[in-house]
């Protein structure tokens, strides 16, 4: 997770191609996962996975709902509490790269193998004193600090909760930081039949992100691939475009490399993103009659994002001339986001003897307004801007009835009708019904199984709409006003306008229908508790920007389309063991187990059975984004082996190969090695199963908590390794890397040469090969916490009510065969879920803190 970044949470697998984030409802206001939240303010978190339960929240709830309720003041004495936490964080793993002498030896022989002159940086001008460890130059040990103070209570009839929070994070990469300050005020009060209240959060964040500017620059790849013979800075590198002399490829006999100097980029590109946000709601409850309440809820979220950056003169990569390389440039952007919510609901809650009824009906109106402005100034050139405003409206009409009899039979019916301005007139509205039933069988008189003290069976069906993927007006083609043409001796720029991005006019609601059956049980006087669920979720008309053919001439991104239908079916199990133990020592354990299969069951209106992004193919009947690559089969050790390697028609399959080259399988057995038809499904990025284990131990005042997590059976594509192992370009190499020669035969490392002079070497470095796939299974200790809670008696003497000190560590231990920095990959997009493209790895964080209350 990036400093200040939002967590990636999938509730029950990828149901949709697009945004899999659940809906957050914070004090009744709909929101996205945001980094502005102060965890100390949370009173309760409720996660709704079941479609029927989530149904009331409508169209944005299809990926599940996380309901967060913040703390409220209570009548009684004032409570002051606070906490302080400080720690360190870092990318804990490094690629083990060569030092300058090892690199020099291998690179020299690679240049020679390619028939090229060895660069003088490796020969006559070699300087062993330059031995740059680029990972060390780019990464550092970061720090986190968090401070909270809150006051709650009641003054007369007004309950209040006020909290202030500051979080600061010095990132684990140079020139990278994040900070957040927040102020929360929650109040509520009662007047006769009225209850009114409000919750509001003011939040300020400030981020200095990792610079990622420029084509072909990827910080977490470049930090390993930059040769150690390049210094961070050097007088040799000074030029008008590069006044400070940052070390880069020079494209001359001394040195040529296309790798970027990312520490330089990080310093030259100073960008700061500032955000101010107000989020909150105000509500009014009016008790019309007994059990009947009208509620008006008004919600508002308003943010102002300001980005400001400067690019100092300097070149960070060979061959990137640009008018702004030798003059400072500045960038500014401003975005405003406003979301308002009006909800009118009538709630009814009543018990008649053994019958309990609750019902709600209402309407929910939501409006989004999001203008964005951008400015760029290069040198003294004028500012240019392209303002763009996003606007959309949602209407939800909702109704729900819950009925239970003796807490034994429970049933719920929900209906929702949703309208969205993101669709064209004919497709705006959708109806989404849900229902659930449950039977607490252990309450039946005939239930005589003593070992099972509680047993509840439940089943539900729910239908939910989703349009989250869409932006406003995607259902029609817009005229791009920017193409221009130059004519005449005065080079007049005449205006042009035309459709550049295609659109699908028949976009409609994505619909997720989920069937769930499950049980909850408690055994042996609740020594064990068990919750088990089996679900089938079918997502119809999934909205996504499916790649379309370039022959369409489309530009500016792929148009949104109702591309396909998916099925996720899975099994979830949670088992808790809470033994009855001696008074001083308590412990419990919870084991979670999840297995989910996803499958493409239809391809919408598309006249196709598959689509492909990069090296991952999504085919009807298979799961999303399976690896579709060439099949390697070891390395030819001799010419005789190459000559003997024949197809079914008897001809030599790889006539271009030389000893040391990779043998590819003729998958379709047509007698030719073909870059298209000899690909095969080489594995899926989806885990076969995932499991978590939570352990809590308490001894007197001490506690120890552990959270283990395991992912098993997925395949990842390691692109950083591809970049340094291909060895046809001047990069650094992994320690121990070598290449095949007759004197140094290998079964792991094929023949290689910088410059790739022949077809055999071109084939050895093919990216679309299973050579780059790795097992992504891992076992990780995600969290470990040791804490000590002081006795109340001890505290009273110093005026404290509560005090707890703790020491915690995240990601302290990972057991995996994956060679990259972090196997916990969520990919660059849903189609390439298992692609390690040099993403920000999970960080190790060690922190200590204290929490207290007065």
């Amino acid at each position: 997770m990036l400093p200040g970044g939002a967590a990636k949470i999938d509730i029950r697998g990828a149901g949709t191609f697009a945004n899999n984030n659940p809906l957050y409802i914070i004090d009744g206001m709909y929101s996205d996962a945001t980094p502005d939240f102060n965890p100390s303010d949370i009173e309760s978190i409720q996660i709704l996975k079941d479609a029927s339960a989530a149904a009331i929240y409508g169209s944005r709830a299809a990926n599940g709902v996380i309901i967060i309720t913040t703390k409220k003041g209570k009548s009684g004495p004032l409570v002051l509490s606070g906490s302080i936490k400080a720690g360190v964080q870092a990318v804990h793993k490094r690629y083990d790269m060569m030092d300058v002498n090892e690199y020099r030896a291998l690179a020299t022989s690679l240049y020679q193998a390619g028939g090229l002159t060895v660069p003088t940086s490796l020969s006559t001008e070699f300087d062993p004193a330059i031995n740059t460890n680029w990972q060390k130059e780019f990464l550092r040990t970061g720090a986190v600090g968090e401070y909270n103070l809150s006051l709650s209570g009641a003054i007369k009839k007004v309950n209040f909760y006020i909290s202030g929070n500051h979080f600061s994070n010095k990132g684990p990469v140079i020139d990278n930081s994040f900070s957040r300050s927040g102020l929360r005020i929650n109040t509520n009060t009662k007047f006769g039949r009225f209850t009114i209240g409000q919750n509001v959060l003011f939040s300020w964040t400030n981020e200095d992100p990792i610079a990622n500017a420029g084509v072909g620059v990827n910080p977490f790849v470049d930090m390993i691939s930059m040769p150690p013979v390049v210094p961070l800075k050097g007088s040799r590198y000074i030029s008008p475009e590069n006044p400070e002399g940052w070390g880069i490829g020079l494209n001359n006999a001394y040195l040529s490399t296309l790798t970027a100097n990312v520490p330089a980029l990080q310093r030259l590109d100073q960008f700061e993103q500032r955000n101010f946000k107000i989020r909150g709601n105000a509500f009014l409850d009016f008790r019309i009659a007994k059990g009947l309440i009208y509620r008006f809820n008004f919600g508002l979220e308003k943010t102002v994002d300001k980005g400001e950056g400067t690019r100092s003169p300097g070149t960070v990569r060979q061959g990137t001339p640009s008018p702004n390389n030798n003059q400072p440039a500045s960038f500014r952007s401003r975005g405003e986001f406003k979301s308002t919510l009006f909800e009118h609901t009538v709630n009814y809650d009543e018990t008649f003897g053994n019958h309990k009824i609750s019902a709600v009906a209402g309407i929910s109106l939501q409006r989004f307004d999001n203008p964005i402005f951008r400015y760029t100034t290069i040198g003294t050139n004028p500012t240019s801007e392209d303002p763009y405003t996003e606007k959309s409206n949602f209407i939800g009409i909702l109704g729900r009835v819950n009925y239970s009899y003796k807490e034994k039979y429970l049933t719920s019916l929900t209906f929702r009708r949703d309208g969205s301005s993101k669709f064209s007139k004919n497709y705006r509205w959708g109806n989404f019904p849900s229902a659930s039933v449950a039977w607490r069988i252990s309450k039946e008189n005939f239930w005589k199984v003593n070992a099972v003290n509680d047993l509840k069976l439940r089943a539900s069906y729910g239908s939910l709409g989703n349009s989250e993927f869409l932006n406003a007006w995607m259902y029609y083609a817009q005229i791009n006003p920017f193409p221009k043409a130059v004519f005449g001796p005065n080079e007049v720029e005449q205006l042009g306008a035309i459709v550049t991005k295609l659109a699908n006019s028949d976009l409609r609601w994505e619909r997720k229908n989920t069937t769930n059956i499950g049980l909850e049980a408690a055994f042996l006087n609740s020594l064990f508790t068990l919750s088990a669920d089996y679900f089938i979720a079918k997502t119809k008309d999934v909205l996504i920007d499916l790649p379309i053919n370039l022959t369409t001439g489309n530009a500016g991104g792929n148009p949104a389309v109702n591309a396909a239908s998916l099925r996720n079916n899975g099994f979830e199990l949670a088992l808790t063991y809470r033994p009855k133990t001696a008074k001083d020592f308590k412990w419990d354990a919870t084991l979670n187990f999840t297995t989910i299969r996803n499958k493409v069951i239809a391809f919408g209106n598309q006249s196709t059975k598959y689509t492909q992004v990069g090296d991952a193919r999504t085919q009807l009947g298979r799961s999303i984004g399976e690896w579709y690559v060439l099949k390697t089969d070891g390395i030819f050790q001799s010419q005789a082996e190459i000559d003997a390697y024949k197809g079914k028609t008897g001809q030599v399959l790889q006539p271009w190969s030389k000893p040391g080259d990779i043998r590819y399988i003729d998958v379709d057995n047509d007698g030719v090695i073909d870059l298209d038809k000899d690909r095969y499904y080489a594995g899926t990025p989806w885990a076969k199963w995932e499991s978590g284990l939570l352990l809590n131990f308490n001894y007197k005042n001490f506690s120890l908590n552990m959270q283990w997590y395991a992912v098993v059976g997925n395949k990842l594509y390691n692109r950083p390794r591809y970049t340094v192992d291909r060895m046809d370009q001047n990069t650094n190499f992994r320690k121990g890397a070598t290449f095949w020669t007759p004197q140094n035969p290998s079964t792991e490392w094929p023949r290689a040469a910088i410059g790739a002079p022949d077809q055999g070497i071109q084939f050895n470095v093919l990216p679309q090969s299973d050579r780059w796939l790795e097992n992504g299974s891992y076992l990780r200790l995600r969290n470990l916490e040791v804490a000590y809670t002081f006795n109340k008696n001890q505290l009273k003497r110093i005026g404290f009510n509560e005090c707890r000190v703790f020491l915690s560590g995240q990601n302290l231990l990972t057991i995996t065969k994956y060679k990259g920095l972090d196997p916990d990959i969520t990919g660059v997009n849903i189609f390439e879920r298992g692609l390690d493209n040099g993403q920000y790895p999970a960080l190790r964080i060690i922190s200590a803190g204290v929490r207290f209350g007065l």
Partner: protein, 518 residues
């Protein structure tokens, strides 16, 4: 207290009622952009539409920008790539394995973008009520531009779809026989030639003309070896009504500078301009220059991703001018140690001498393509992606040489002499009539091949010349190329004449078949 509550209630009610209408509306007007259904209504819309087709020339993969020279020049026997970017080098080395890498992807894509834009104009402009003369002109321009793109598509990739209507997102076209594409190119250009004006004035100069359409039509016929039709088409510019419009400029090098653009020798130029910003695709700060030069400039001024084979220099030295001087076209064509014949101490590279560059062994014997470099005004500077030099897509000397080739091939060798003579005379060479009278048809063709090298090298014509002259289909002729350019050892007959179609296209469109043997 009750008053406060009443006030709160009333306010709430008012707010919700007044806001209701705004909130219940699911039809929100787009304040940013015009919707397609409100466009193509007026003559002004039609003008903007056709301008946007020209606007596609400013993309990297479009004709005259950075990538097409790799296909037409560097792939040919006069060029080779030394790029540290393996995939880019493999285009020139004829052993590409990454069919979807950026260059092949963008070149394919940006050509189809041009086709899509021209198709939009052709589908929508005819129905607009507007000035009929202008309407006819815009339609003619769109047909010409569509033919420009299809000419490159069919010669680079060979087996391509033929798309003539505005695209829909789920189009999955199949390939058509090449003759069908050529027939469409001929039809579009014939109609464009009929519709287009002979010339423009002022701020309209640079739009497609009748002469441009005939020039490209002649080129298309010649490439198909339809010699008689080629003669007829090209005649319009040489002896027909276009005669007064076109001539050779006295100074050969003026054809490759921004200071002498749209001159008499220009039949069609892609208009470039240097802007301070060079933003990406169709945005407010989009580049309207060409990004070609940095890839071709020598170290210190560009990436030197591609070089000219040294044999080309020898080709120039085979014959001196009538007054015993070196062919002046050599200096304009090749930048190397002896661009100035007095040698490296006098040869100027971006403002300073070749000697002062202290090039090491890697570089000092290299030859760089000189045409379209900004070296004459970016003194001691690095090339930038926004060069203002117009790309001469069709030059009158090419028209003359094509005309001579077509006449000779259709058996009129004697009649072909004067047109080669015109080109030679401008360079100060003796006329062929004097130097080599009475050549046979085959000898004349051989000589014409030489003339095209010394006149046109580096202008993205060589690959199709070689294809037309049969070098790619015959092992003996291919051996000549191998002798001149070792990269041709990777050339496989039946494969390398065409580039592979980007794999990503085939991966999502089962109707597309990869070119043979790729």
């Amino acid at each position: 207290m009750k008053k406060i509550i009443k006030f709160c209630l009333a306010t709430t009610l008012m707010v919700s009622v007044s806001s209701c209408k705004k909130y219940l509306d699911l039809d929100i007007a787009n304040p940013n952009r015009v919707d397609e259904s409100n466009f193509w209504k007026t003559g002004a819309d039609a003008l903007k539409g056709i301008n946007a087709v020209y606007g596609n020339f400013y993309r990297n993969g479009s004709p005259g920008s950075r990538w097409t020279p790799f296909y037409f020049d560097i792939r040919s026997d006069d060029g080779y790539s030394t790029s540290p970017w393996n995939e880019l080098r493999s285009v020139g080395a004829l052993n590409i394995t990454q069919y979807s890498f950026e260059v092949n992807y963008d070149t394919w894509w940006h050509h189809w973008r041009g086709v899509y834009r021209a198709n939009q104009v052709l589908a929508n402009v005819p129905a607009i009520t507007m000035d009929e003369t202008l309407k006819k002109q815009y339609i003619g321009e769109a047909k010409f531009l569509r033919a420009v793109y299809y000419y490159n598509l069919v010669t680079i990739w060979g087996n391509i779809p033929l798309i003539l209507q505005p695209s829909k997102p789920d189009d999955k076209p199949s390939q058509v026989p090449q003759e069908q594409v050529w027939a469409q190119i001929e039809k579009d250009l014939t109609e464009a030639a009929e519709a287009l004006p002979t010339s423009y004035t002022g701020d309209e100069i640079g739009r497609a003309t009748k002469g441009a359409a005939y020039g490209l039509l002649g080129r298309a016929y010649l490439q198909q070896k339809k010699y008689q039709q080629a003669v007829t088409a090209l005649q319009w510019l040489i002896t027909g009504p276009g005669q007064a419009l076109y001539d050779l400029v006295p100074n050969f090098a003026d054809n490759f500078k921004h200071t002498t653009e749209n001159n008499k020798e220009s039949v069609f130029e892609i208009q470039f301009k240097m802007r301070p910003e060079n933003g990406g695709d169709d945005g407010p700060t989009s580049n309207v220059g060409t990004s070609r030069a940095p890839f071709f400039a020598p170290p210190g001024h560009g990436f030197s991703d591609a070089n000219m084979q040294r044999w080309v220099v020898q080709e120039f030295l085979k014959e001196q001018t009538a007054t015993g001087e070196r062919d002046p076209r050599l200096a304009a064509t090749a930048l190397y140690d002896s661009t100035d014949e007095r040698g490296p101490d006098f040869t100027i590279v971006y403002g300073s001498t070749f000697t002062s560059k202290n090039y090491d062994n890697n570089f000092k014997n290299r030859v760089w393509y000189h045409k379209y470099l900004d070296d004459y005004f970016r003194i001691n500077q690095f090339e930038v992606f926004n060069s203002p030099i117009n790309f001469r897509l069709i030059r009158f000397s090419d028209v003359l040489l094509m005309y001579a080739e077509a006449l000779n091939a259709s058996g009129q060798t004697a009649a072909a002499y004067p047109y080669i003579d015109r080109v030679r005379q401008r360079a100060g060479m003796k006329t062929l009539t004097v130097a080599m009278p009475g050549l046979t048809q085959a000898q004349f063709q051989k000589q014409l091949e030489h003339e095209r090298i010394v006149e046109l090298t580096g202008e993205s014509l060589r690959w199709n010349d070689l294809a037309r002259w049969g070098y790619f289909d015959d092992a003996a002729k291919l051996a000549e190329l191998k002798a001149r350019d070792a990269e041709f050892n990777n050339f496989i007959i039946g494969r390398n004449k065409y580039m592979p179609i980007p794999q990503t296209e085939i991966d999502i469109n089962p109707n597309l078949k990869q070119n043979p043997k790729w």
